[in-house]
Amino acid sequence: MTTLKTLTVAAAALFTTIGAGRAEQLIVNSYGGPYEAIIMERIIKPFEDRTGITVVYDPVGSASQDYAKIKATKGRPGFDVAVMTASQSLDGCRDGLLEKFTTDTVPNLAKLNPAVSRMAGECGAVHEVQYLSLLWRTDKLKAAPTSWNALFEQELKGKIILPTFQNIMAANLMQVLSVKNGGDLLENVDPGFKAMAVLAKQTIGFEQSSAVMETYVKGGQVWAMPYWNGRAQLLMDSGVPVDFVKPTEGTIPLIATLNVPVGAENKAAAMKFVDFFLEKASQEAWVTGYKVGSARSDIEVPEAVRSRQITTEGDLEKLLLPDLSITAAKLPEWGDRWEREVVSAAN
């Protein structure tokens, strides 16, 4: 009898939570941790104040997990806007799972750098550009590194960590090293894998989670590693003695996008949000808040921020820009090679 009562009470409570709240709202799927605090303050609060729309924030899942969820639900994952990357934007457009943007629905799209915008296709609105940087412990390394070569130095033997292949950083690092050693970004990547196999001997291992990689840096077991500059900056700001550099040989950007699944329930609000995020003022707030680059070249940010970010046409031209749909198609083959040539070469 008591169990029956508990069941009824629990079920009733559950259904009230499910049914609650039907005012105009928007569900935004993004990331958790310190990222959440910054996006709340810089973008979501101002958006709510201006439009009166209530934003429900959903920090669940990485970009590829979000995409898997969109695919499984056939475009109705429960959120209206997802923060993913250009490669999911291309996949989603091809599979018909993501809404196409036009300058009618998202006027600010016209203000973005066309080359970067094109990389994300019609279904992705580029709201942020990061790059693969070289992160290093300032108290452990003798001199500030400027080149990817630093990772291969004797000094760093057993002092670096690499991502597993399920972290897109791995493929990007291989591509950068391929170009550096005379190969190219997509077809002739043998030099890249050869270099990675050498690098594997330097590592203490491979980790999938960025947070676990960071823990090794914090603990001092790892002195250098490849890392996205946005998170490198967050780590630096948290007081860990680290710095990061955009190596002279060039690097690959991470093109982050806003996406709207085809089955989004609050599509109009979603479009408003995407456009709001791309506004000049929002982009400035985001670039100075999360300390990343922007696809808008007309934003005005302090020189100290600008010098480390990708914000100008000039910065953009120096990047290595692989075709992301070809990269995505190559991933299974490269993943296989990674297991055979890189992981097995590690100590």
């Binding site: 409570a13 310190p34 429960g78 947070a211 603990g219």
Partner: protein
């Protein structure tokens, strides 16, 4: 020989319990460590991480996980008992095949079950079930086999002569079920429901696909937080939820006789 065996028994019991507690101690130590990373460094301690636990960010997912786990464990107890009764007690023809079917969800990796259930609900147009109700159904798929197997195991040990004796003495079918069968299989039902509760409360692979924005379970909140920062707040959250559940068990023990439930069969 007998003394040696008894000594060996106690020694192994202690070692096994030490093995169980060891990583837990690391987590507890991390939760009171002043260092901002999850490490094991005895010495200074602090309770500051626990203050972060008492916020809606962690409490809401905890309460949701608890509700889901309670519903899941009750439902798998009922469904598992029905299945196990037909298979192990009535021994209806084909009971081996039916038991295999009841156990078959165990053989499929959870992540595949998660994708499959979401795909099915979406393809069939049952979009309303995507979310917490779908999540509950998915958890029951996962826990029902455990409950069925546990209860069937306890029915295996059931001495049917007791039942026959009662029948001869004129007890009705329902009387026999309630007074003879149920008390004897209670440990199985109890274990099965404990299984179900724990599995649901901890589940990640199924929940990843089925949580609804704004209604996130505790383990999913933990892994999302972990992707950005691996700090002692996580340890504090886990220890706090553990303490809460143990305290609940303790209260049940005090007022309801929890161990009487566990030991229902041996008296």
């Amino acid at each position: 020989m007998n003394r040696f065996l008894a000594g060996l028994f106690w020694l192994s019991l202690c070692l096994i319990l030490a093995f169980i507690t060891l990583p837990l101690l690391v987590v507890v130590a991390a939760s009171v460590s002043p260092s901002s990373t999850v490490t094991f460094a005895p010495g200074d301690w602090t309770l500051t991480w626990y203050s972060a636990v008492w916020t809606a960010k962690w409490l809401d997912p905890f309460v949701l996980s608890l509700k889901i786990a309670v519903i899941v464990s009750l439902a798998s107890g009922v469904l598992g008992a029905l299945g196990a009764y037909a298979v192990a007690y009535e021994k209806c023809p084909g009971s081996d095949a039916i038991m295999s079917f009841l156990l078959s969800p165990l053989a499929v990796p959870q992540i595949v079950k998660g994708v499959a259930i979401v795909l099915f609900l979406s393809s069939a147009g049952f979009y309303v079930f995507l979310g917490t109700s779908g999540l509950i159904a998915a958890h029951i798929v996962l826990t029902l086999p455990f409950a069925a197997r546990m209860i069937a195991t306890s029915i295996h040990n059931f001495d049917k002569n007791l039942d026959r004796a009662a029948q001869i003495l004129g007890a009705s079918k329902w009387q026999r079920m309630w007074h003879i069968l149920f008390p004897l299989i209670k440990p199985g039902v109890f274990s099965g429901m404990t299984f179900a509760f724990i599995i649901s409360f901890n589940n990640i692979p199924l929940s990843v696909f089925l949580v609804r924005p704004g209604q996130t379970t505790l383990p999913i909140t933990v892994i999302n937080y972990m992707e950005y920062s691996l700090d002692p707040v996580l340890a504090a959250v886990n220890v706090a939820s553990l303490i809460f559940i143990l305290a609940t068990i303790f209260l049940f023990e005090k007022f309801g006789g929890f161990s009487a439930q566990i030991h229902g069969g041996s008296k």
